[in-house]
Amino acid sequence: MSGTGADAQACPPPLTPSDDLAMRARLGASHVAIVGCGGLGSNAAAMLVRSGVGKLTLVDFDTVEEDNLNRQLFFRDQIGMLKTDALADTLRRIEPDVDLMLVRECLDEENLLGVVEGADVVIEAVDRADVKAMIANVLCTDAPDLPLVSTSGLAGIDSANEIVCERVGENFYLVGDLHSDVRSGLPLLASRVMVAAAHQAHAATRILLGYEEP
């Protein structure tokens, strides 16, 4: 699979679990762009690589800090490294042949489309609500055929069962409980963050395999 837009629409019919070789081949030829390499993005990236996705674009401008280690897939000896570079090192330890494009810049309305060009699915994994809205509004307007898996509501200690994945637009998938906001002072716990990241990775995997529902 490759290509933004019409190509993404023209994907073959869903593969069944019995099509193991075909399933692995399709994932291996797939490209996922992950915008944000924090709690969601770093964990989703590892799951996608373990599932056999062949190419990832990793986008983040930030560096690893000590207080990231409670939920993000980084290690103490990576403190101070760019998150893209640290995550790339870890992903290549999982799968040395994974194809990684590292984008070490802050995204805005001007550069977003260029950064995700060629991806089959985009995972939005940023923390700020206004940036989440910008990503959704730009991609849904200018790349409406490119599936976007976004997240809203994963903070706090409410039941992890409240975090779900829904298809709320034709190519817009939303993960979260839709109410738990870090701005309310709620903590970000590794378990809940990883549930959301797993939903994102699994939704992306299903989309790559031809399923429309998450």
């Binding site: 944000g36 924090g38 709690g39 969601l40 993005g41 994994a125 940023v126 923390d127 700020r128 609500a129 206004d130 989440k132 809205a133 910008m134 959704a136 509004n137 849904c140 307007t141 409406p144 976004s150 997240t151 809203s152 509501g153 994963l154 903070a155 709320v168 637009g169 034709e170 817009f172 939303l174 979260g176 839709l178 109410h179 738990s180 906001d181 870090v182 701005r183 709620l186 970000l188």
Partner: protein, 79 residues
């Protein structure tokens, strides 16, 4: 004309019946009503949001049609 409006997360408290929840409510609005008109009518707060009409992305200037389902999401911080 008749439309339905679904408000997600904390925006659900802005439904006129005040009952919250994610269920869509039915509204009778004038022809040529825009999404922005509905947002004003509901007095939604001025904050980032993502809009869909019948599953297709929309913006404040989009004109609604009979039977449309408008869904409004406020992204929630955290990642």
């Amino acid at each position: 004309m008749r439309i339905t409006v679904a408000l997600f997360a904390h925006l659900s408290t802005f439904q006129p019946d005040g009952h919250g929840g994610r269920g869509a409510r039915t509204f009778d609005v004038a022809a040529d009503t825009t999404v922005g008109d509905v947002i004003g009518m509901l007095a939604l707060p001025d904050e980032p949001r993502v809009l869909f009409i019948n599953g297709r992305h929309a913006d404040d200037s989009t004109v609604l049609a009979e039977g449309d389902r408008l869904a409004i999401f406020p992204p929630i911080a955290g990642g």
